[in-house]
């Protein structure tokens, strides 16, 4: 037992640290970090140093599923209804275009290639149709990772997010069709309608489960305001959902994605900090997920001709994605950046493709291609190799698409602003204090004159002794006689949290959220407890929104200036 724990912990440590090291190396070469994770996986895996063996990766399968669940949940959180309403027609057309075009081009070309080699129509057809179906899927994890890494924002980013989130479902439907056909052709009992029915049931089941998960989370978020508790709950719920999805043979990503999507649309504001927490937590999980994905790829036993299939597949899929999304985008009148560059952002291929290939191999394990090679192995090897190749050039191509569209670095978020600010940057600096020895009648006037709900109470040395709130005064309203002899110090509440002007804004806002406080006095840093301002959550929110807008405008302005500069440089002087 100890050996197993040691070995697993060793793998986890090596994977995360090695992955981060690889990522920083590739980032220096201006290549997305995810490529670094995968390359490190290849180096430490079966193809390289063999530090992580195939059985280790198998032992860590539950972890991979957990990572997929987290990724799905976060991707779902990006899918806001307003975006869908605005772009629904475009997304649907592009999805069908890129998915079906990749399916057709890969299916036909690999089928023809295999027919030329083996002169067996049913094998060529079966392999072609399975390769085609798998080719339609795009890997959301590595693609989204690039979008986040380069802080992109804009219509292309939105389109890429939506398409990679949705085309797994399309891939599964095509796969359902494909395996139904293949089973009939390969002589295995089965029917297309039965297979499609099964797939539709699986997809619907996943969506229903995710919906139920989102309802549970909504119930919780509306009642519990402690962020760390909600975070623990969402992780627990995700683990539960993933296990049920795996048990019921449903899609893990779709389940958690539905959960994230429904939640973000039901409680857009309240869920924001929860998504942020999950995202912060996801970094080591992402690293580990991709390192293990790299380590899992075993390519040493492939026959030579299979590399031909791999080349055709990669070429056909890439052309299919670019051409299909161009046709879909053009047909629906999408913006030029979407038409031109969306296809470049859809090359990555990951877990779903490998998963589908493994499932397909199960059905095709008895179909012999040559003396000691089964069609099932061809599919598994082929998809593993193509996944490796497209995972190495797919994420960099996402970056290229983002750069060409000018959407890199535009995503200034509220979190960026909050992280960069201290309390002093956003507090109200007009300090209205109340003396602890003031009679209530006098102090009550302050609520008439000013708009705040709380005021710092100071002692004779002007140190903050407590807080006078409207809520606190409420307790003496019913006994007006007492107003003559009660003082502010009698009705003030002690300071629940000392907020210094030098504190990090994020930390204080989280505390205020958890304690359900709307306004809190701010003291100067040091021991003096001297009030210097007041933090008002509503005004803070307003200022953050303005700052996000201002920073985005500044980026836009800089971009437009650069463009004008470039135009001027190329315009000949008359």
């Amino acid at each position: 037992m100890e050996t197993i724990s040691f070995s697993i912990l060793f793998i986890l440590g090596v994977s995360i640290l090695g992955g981060l090291l690889g990522a920083s190396f590739f980032q220096k070469l201006r290549v997305p970090q995810v490529v670094g994770f995968i390359v490190i996986g290849l180096i430490v895996g079966d193809n390289g140093l063999k530090l992580i063996k195939h059985e280790d990766v198998t032992a860590l399968q539950p972890f991979t599923l957990f990572a997929l669940g987290i990724i799905g949940f976060l991707v779902g959180g990006e899918l806001k209804a307003e975006t869908f309403r605005k772009y629904a027609r475009q997304f649907f057309a592009i999805l069908l275009g890129e998915g079906l075009m990749a399916f057709l081009l890969v299916g036909i070309s690999t089928g023809l290639f295999l027919y030329v080699i083996f002169h067996n129509l049913s094998i060529a057809f079966a392999a072609g149709i399975v390769f085609g179906a798998v080719a339609s899927a795009t890997d959301p994890a590595s693609t989204i990772d690039v979008l986040w890494e380069y802080r992109s924002l804009g219509v292309l980013t939105t389109s890429i997010t939506a398409i990679v989130a949705l085309d797994d479902a399309l891939a599964m439907i095509l796969y359902g069709l494909a395996t139904g056909l293949v089973k009939m052709l390969a002589g295995v009992s089965g029917s297309i309608s039965k297979e499609i029915g099964k797939v539709v049931l699986e997809l619907l089941g996943a969506a229903v489960m995710g919906f139920v998960g989102a309802l549970i989370l909504r119930f919780l978020l509306q009642r519990v305001r402690l962020l760390h508790k909600n975070f623990a709950f969402v992780i627990g719920l995700l683990l539960l959902m993933i296990s049920v999805a795996v048990y019921a043979n449903m899609d893990v990503i779709l389940t958690s994605m539905t959960m994230g999507c429904i939640l973000v649309n039901m409680l857009p504001r309240r869920s924001a900090s929860l998504f942020e927490s999950v995202r912060s937590f996801s970094t080591p999980i992402y690293v580990l997920f991709f390192v293990l994905a790299g380590a899992r790829l075993s390519l040493t036993q492939m026959p030579g001709w299979l590399w031909g299939v791999v080349a055709i597949y990669v070429l056909g899929r890439s052309i299919g994605k670019v051409l299909g999304s161009y046709i879909g985008a053009k047909w629906t009148g999408s913006e030029p950046v979407v038409r031109r560059y969306l296809g470049l952002g859809l090359f990555a291929q990951g877990g779903v493709a490998i998963g589908l290939s493994i499932m397909a191999s199960h059905y095709l394990k008895d179909v012999a291609v040559s003396e000691n090679l089964m069609l099932g192995d061809v599919v598994v090897f082929g998809i593993a190799a193509t996944t490796l190749i497209v995972q190495l050039f797919g994420p960099p191509m996402v970056k290229v698409a983002l750069k060409l569209s000018g959407e890199v670095g535009r995503n200034v978020t509220r979190e960026d602003v909050i992280d960069s600010w201290t309390v002093a940057d956003v507090m109200e600096t007009e300090v209205i204090t109340v003396q602890e020895g003031d009679p209530i009648a006098k102090a009550a006037q302050i609520f008439v004159k000013h708009d705040y709900l709380v005021y710092p109470v100071v002692d004779r040395q002007h140190r903050m002794a407590g807080v006078l709130s409207l809520h606190g005064l409420k307790d003496v309203l019913s006994n007006p006689d007492s107003w003559a002899w009660l003082l502010v110090s009698d009705v003030m509440t002690p300071i629940r949290q000392k907020v210094s002007s030098s504190s990090s804004l994020k930390e204080i806002l989280d505390q205020m959220y958890e304690l359900n406080i709307d306004q809190t006095p701010v003291i100067a840093p040091g021991d003096g407890d001297v009030p210097v301002g007041l933090l008002d959550r509503a005004k803070v929110k307003e200022r953050i929104d303005i700052e996000v807008f201002r920073r985005r405008q500044a980026i836009e302005f800089k971009r437009s200036r650069t463009k004008v500069g470039e135009t001027n440089e190329t315009t000949p002087v008359a």
């Binding site: 003496v476 006689d481 007492s482 003559a484």
Partner: protein, 155 residues
């Protein structure tokens, strides 16, 4: 205040005492020592300091011969009260109406027991406005009678 406080929950018979001093300082000190015997009070010195600090801000002589010195302290676990019958009226208390003090109700509560503290103050002051009760308390020949008279009002 809707939540009327049961005085019997905060005042024990042994914390009612007859005061034979004519000065405010002495009366407050004696009564604070008496209140400090309650298990809810963790720090006698802090109690004394708190009571006198509050008096510095403004006198707690609320008029009609009544004083309600009170304090909220971190070292107090629950609202608690002591009462003193001034056998010699205390003229230097600087009460709101200038009338010498005949009855002192000293109250202590926890630092964060803001609501309970105010409820107790309010409940007591409303009760003591009743002249009949006030006179009966001042005239009480001994502390058990005082206690019985005050608590009986709640029934």
């Amino acid at each position: 205040m809707s939540n009327d406080v049961q005085l019997s929950h905060v005042l024990a018979p042994q914390r009612v005492m007859a005061l034979h001093t004519a000065t405010k300082v002495e009366a407050l000190r004696t009564l604070a020592d008496c209140l400090a015997t309650a298990p809810e009070v963790g720090d006698r010195e802090a109690l004394r300091e708190g009571i006198f600090y509050r008096e510095q801000l403004m006198s707690t002589g609320i008029g009609m011969g009544i004083a309600v010195p009170h304090v909220r302290l971190a070292s107090v676990s629950a609202p608690v009260m002591a009462a003193g019958i001034c056998r010699t009226p205390i003229a230097d208390y600087e009460s709101l109406d200038g009338v010498p003090i005949r009855l002192i109700f000293m109250i202590a509560a926890g630092k964060s027991q803001h609501v309970e503290h105010l409820r107790l103050l309010s409940s007591l002051s409303l009760r003591i406005k009743n002249e009949t009760l006030r006179d009966a308390l001042i005239a009480a020949p001994d502390t058990p009678t005082f206690y019985e008279t005050l608590i009986r009002q709640e029934d």
